[in-house]
């Protein structure tokens, strides 16, 4: 039984990867925007943050070091929210019905798509990481730390992809998915610790930022990137992220089963 699910999931994943490899330009474009953020905003802010007060708020003297984990997660957010589109396209082109008429385990379709989406997200995050390193970003924990950063981005990608794919299965309309996801992305970024330290925020905004799933991802990543393996700051965020990922993935499988298959 498990073997069958893995086999079917692999083939759904295989198709998505084939498509992905042929859309190199799209993957690159998805990286361009965050890099622009990194270069423009990173350098602008560097002038503002090169003083002891700011360094205390950021937890590091270098704004680029502070910002890079946030930009990586932001890319995962932007990539993930539109992940649901692939289900909608498959529905519109009739490919979804073709897969449903085949003896494929029902969970294999959403899970295979989610896996491909996560691989894409991690790959994009890796590109940003590499460009960040070229721009002089310093990761205090070295190669292992980079691995941890990518794992966290992947986990966050699983969550966003799961939400987007669930909504796509439920809504059945491109326009509705775009509208909902566009509505949430920017507020999610700016009510989190991705761009600015929560210590600089007013009380009410800090409360929101502390509950924002983005912060749970960025917090531990930033700790690992700028301060080292401070476990008491790492594991709570990572654990919350794992739990949310499990929940969103189960919701996805159930929602897909209910709305589509």
């Amino acid at each position: 039984m498990i073997g069958v699910i893995v086999h079917d999931t692999y083939w759904v994943f295989w198709r998505e990867m084939k498509k992905l490899v042929r859309q190199k330009s799209r993957i690159m474009m998805a990286v361009v925007q965050p890099v622009v953020w990194l270069v423009l905003m990173g350098n602008t802010m560097a002038g503002l943050t090169s003083n002891p007060v700011a360094a205390k708020m950021l937890g590091t003297g270098n704004y680029l070091d502070f910002m890079t984990p946030g930009v990586m997660v932001m890319t995962a957010l932007f990539g993930g929210v539109f992940g649901g589109m692939s289900i909608l396209w498959d529905r519109r082109l009739g490919f979804l019905n073709k897969m449903l008429a085949a003896p494929i385990h029902r969970a294999a379709i959403p899970v295979g798509k989610l896996a491909a989406l996560t691989v894409q997200t991690v790959f994009q995050a890796l590109l940003i990481m590499l460009i960040g390193l070229l721009l002089g970003v310093h990761i205090s924990t070295g190669i292992l730390g980079i691995g941890f950063l990518l794992a966290m981005v992947g986990l966050f990608g699983v969550i966003m992809g799961g939400v987007s794919l669930s909504l796509a299965a439920m809504l059945k309309s491109h326009e509705a998915l775009m509208a909902i996801m566009n509505f949430f992305t920017m507020p999610l970024v700016f009510t989190s610790n991705a761009m600015f330290p929560t210590r600089a925020m007013p009380e009410w905004l800090r409360a929101i930022a502390d509950a924002n799933p983005l912060s749970y991802a960025v917090g531990p990543m930033r700790t690992v990137a700028t301060r080292g393996w401070v476990w008491q700051e790492i594991w709570p965020g990572a654990l919350v992220l794992v739990i949310i990922a499990v929940v969103t993935t189960s919701i996805l499988v159930r929602q897909f089963h209910r709305s589509v298959a």
Partner: protein, 338 residues
């Protein structure tokens, strides 16, 4: 011969109360080419969707290849092939990759895969284009690839939903050839839907005419045509006043093989007859001494168009679905034209 499809009162009522399929019962014998003929929106695709386990019926049951479509859905899926009207091939993959994917979905043993793919590519004549991306294919080639996908696991039963929708005449003929070939060589049973009369006539052993969710009549094409009873003679008077024509018509009505004469506009008339093409010279001879002269006369057998008109009271017509359906239909047509 055993039955490969048995449907009993199969019904689908969508949320909102739309009766897409209103209790259809029929059976399809092994080795048969069975056609559902009806206009768009008649319930053909909904019926196929239920038989291929894509939709759960809201009433009735059906057994496909001996298995229940709701309780044994997985086994039904293994046994059947399904080619939708959507042209559901992936443009971003090559023809070969589309088939490789399909072989994966159907759990074809690893050692068999290359042979199977070769076999179906050969059949639909796409061997030399297999390595090209599907986005470079024409509409007809996409359709052929889609059919090849439906054949990779050698199903006993193949569902073809509107197999020639939007294709040019030459490609339609090709598809018809494949369908006949599949039945002859692979002993495959084929269930197809169409809204083309000539297609149903040319391919099907039996046809069910479906309209507004229910089967109006089910018979062989020949049986359907003869169910209209008579053959018809269409003729038109070239000269003669109204009295002359009336006298001539009375003479024709008096002939033993003429059942009925009705006016068909101007000086044209339609007579239903019982003795076939011999009616034409017979009518001509009968009027030899009359002032009214016949200008043109021809013998016709009722076509499936006439049959459809007779059983549904209207011509096959276009019918709108939801917005998403309309978008999908437009996309299919656009992909076809390439």
């Amino acid at each position: 011969m055993s039955e490969i499809i048995e449907a009993q009162g199969l019904a689908k009522i969508f949320p909102g109360g739309i009766k897409a399929v209103d209790g259809v019962s029929f059976s399809v014998a092994e080795g048969e080419i069975f056609g559902f003929l009806g206009p768009n929106g008649a319930g053909k695709s909904t019926t196929i969707a239920m038989l291929t386990t894509l939709l759960k019926p809201t009433g009735g049951t059906a057994r496909v290849a001996g298995m229940d479509i709701t309780r044994q859905a997985y086994n039904v899926r293994l046994a059947i092939g399904y080619v939708s009207q959507d042209l559901a091939v992936d443009d971003a993959l090559t023809g070969y990759e589309n088939l490789r994917l399909q072989a994966g979905f159907y759990h074809i043993p690893r050692g068999e895969i290359a042979k199977r793919i070769d076999e179906v590519l050969e059949m639909v004549g796409l061997k030399n284009r297999a390595k090209d991306l599907v986005e470079t294919y024409s509409g007809g080639m996409r359709k052929r690839l889609d059919i090849a996908c439906g054949l990779i696991h050698r199903p006993k039963l193949l569902f073809l939903d509107e197999p020639t929708l939007g294709l040019d005449i030459q490609t339609r003929r090709e598809i018809w050839n494949y369908i006949n070939q599949l039945r002859a060589e692979a002993k495959m049973t084929i269930f197809l839907t169409t809204h083309y009369m000539d297609e149903a006539d040319a391919l099907c052993d039996r046809i069910a005419i479906i309209d507004r969710g229910s089967i109006k009549v089910l018979d062989t094409p020949a049986g359907l045509k003869s169910s209209l009873g008579s053959e018809i003679v269409v003729f038109e008077f070239a000269k003669g006043g109204p009295e002359d024509i009336n006298a001539a018509l009375n003479k024709i009505r008096g002939l033993g093989f003429v059942k009925d004469v009705t006016k068909a506009g101007g000086k044209g008339y339609v007579a239903s007859v019982t003795n076939g093409e011999a009616s034409v010279p017979a009518i001509f001879d009968a009027l030899s001494g009359f002032a009214a002269k016949i200008g043109s006369i021809s013998f016709k057998q009722p076509s499936l168009d006439d049959v459809f008109l007779h059983y549904t009271g209207r011509e096959i017509r276009e019918n709108g679905g939801g917005k998403e359906d309309a978008v999908r239909a437009r996309m299919v047509m656009r992909r076809m034209r390439r």
